[in-house]
Symmetry: C2
Subunit: 311 residues, 2 copies
């Protein structure tokens, strides 16, 4: 029996246009790793270290906070030592905070052998997200937990269904090297507090088109659906480069384009007919026009969280 | 070659909880019939008669108005005589006005042999709906045109996808004999002009659950999804009997319950495990508590509009 369990969880892109706070997709572009070990019994406590710092406040990190929620709710009086190894860049809309939380609760679940269902683990990971964004949003953590496209169709209790991607689809990420102070919090605050009924109906149409398009593999429905005239538009001042980049990615044959989560990364779906050369050339030009440097990453859809060494 | 073409179109229930203005289902409970004939050439004109009145103003009836739109947009200078035979009760949320429009444009399309696609015919029928509700809503007409469950995922231009119902599902309609003056118009006006982002996200979750549940045949997801805390709730003062009726239908084993379109009809999905005897007994009692008389109709899912005699 191993004394230490290691789990990984992949990066993800949330929202995807009209799926604000419910839709996301996991990709194998990056992953976080968490190892967990028990160091004492009798009290519920988390000690957290990363590759950079020896110990950090577990309440201020999604990995630590989600495990604290797990220990408390499951009434487990144990000290858990977590070691977090970040592979996912932080603050770029790639679900970094969510993946740390998912890897942490997965590792602890395996370590303790308590068999908590994935939905409940997703709940604990979501509660951990408060450390990053104040609000416990479930979209990224569901994708990192379950893999592929995930829709959180109920929050209390958490219920998730997954959609396997159409066979020939791939993922393109354009990652600008800009860091926006308190980005997720600011991006969430920019979302309008209310929307008109017309906007709601239009978003519902697009969400329907996207969901069914992903299930049927209809690229026309995916393209029609992955367009968000409300949430994305409300945040545009954070991402001035986005409208022209989106237009040019579509010109280069991307199927559909959206801001990845709270940005600034741009998410695209591509297939064999996408002109990657055109896109790479354009992205370099366009980013330099905006005085930013961008990395283009091609990725595949990822599976859910994975235990690297079992107990 | 027949000089007269006859088409029928079935009744439908729109909204189904979170699908306001986009989701509907056709049922074989009732249908309207329209016959169409050409009476002159050289001008675009519609003459309309029903079983009750010899001629009525075609602009004030959805069948007449939709054919006027068709003739104008398709640049057809013909006089068309329509005879409308109403089988669907009016003003009860059963898609009566929409079915008349669908049967009319289908009959005229066949009569003239112009091969207008179903999506375009749906558009003309939707424009005809202005005669009934001031606003050209596409949900009922899409269901009567295409059959089964329909989602209008784009309005301009009209794009529709259909979902075949899970095999063992049936429809239950509870039809109260109350007529509310200008009901559809009033019911539309009661819908809030704007909703909070939280309400929007909740409705999006439920819509996702309903759409995927219908596709997968998951009754749990259908039940979770067919619940509307916003639009239905805003209209409750029109339907004081609804909350207790919904609760008792669910107790009787209905899978899910919603107001049918703008009401007052109550729509339920049932299966073999539904206790029809309990429901019938309860509905009679409950309606008499509210001093109304209700008819319970069991129906199957209907196909789309049908030409009864081809040219």
């Amino acid at each position: 029996m191993a004394d230490v369990v290691k789990a990984i969880a992949y990066s993800s892109s949330a929202n995807l246009g009209p799926g604000y706070d419910l839709l996301a997709v996991a990709h194998n572009a990056f992953f976080d790793t968490v190892t967990a070990a028990i160091t004492c019994e009798g009290e519920a406590k988390v000690e957290l270290s990363t590759q950079r710092e020896m110990t950090i406040d577990p309440e201020k990190n999604t990995a630590g906070l989600s495990v604290l929620h797990l220990l408390k709710d499951e009434e487990l009086k144990l000290c858990v030592k977590l070691t977090l190894s970040k592979g996912i860049p932080v603050g770029l809309g790639l679900g970094s905070s969510g993946a740390s939380a998912v890897a942490a609760v997965s590792a602890v679940n395996e370590l303790l052998g308590v068999g908590i269902p994935h939905e409940k683990l997703t709940y604990y990971a979501m509660m951990g997200e408060k450390a990053a964004a104040n609000v416990p949003h479930p979209d990224n953590v569901a994708a990192s937990m379950f893999g592929n496209f995930t829709v959180v169709y109920s929050v209390n209790p958490i219920k998730v269904f997954t959609i396997s991607p159409p066979k020939d689809l791939r993922i393109l990420l354009v990652i600008p090297d800009i860091h926006i102070e308190q980005k997720t919090k600011r991006a969430r605050e920019m979302v309008p507090k209310s929307i008109s009924m017309e906007e709601h109906v239009e978003l519902s149409r697009r969400l329907s088109s996207l969901l069914v398009g992903l299930q049927l593999g209809s690229k026309e429905m995916i393209r029609e659906g992955m367009h968000d005239p409300v949430v994305e538009v409300s945040r545009l001042s954070l991402f001035p480069f986005y409208p022209s980049m989106k237009r040019r990615l579509l010109e280069g044959g991307a199927i559909s384009v959206a801001i990845s989560g709270a940005g600034p990364t741009v998410f695209g779906l591509t297939d064999d007919s996408t002109n990657s050369e055109y896109i790479r050339r354009f992205v370099a030009n366009e980013c330099s026009n905006f005085n930013i440097h961008c990395t283009v990453v091609n990725a595949d859809f990822a599976k859910g969280t994975k235990i690297e060494n079992r107990k």
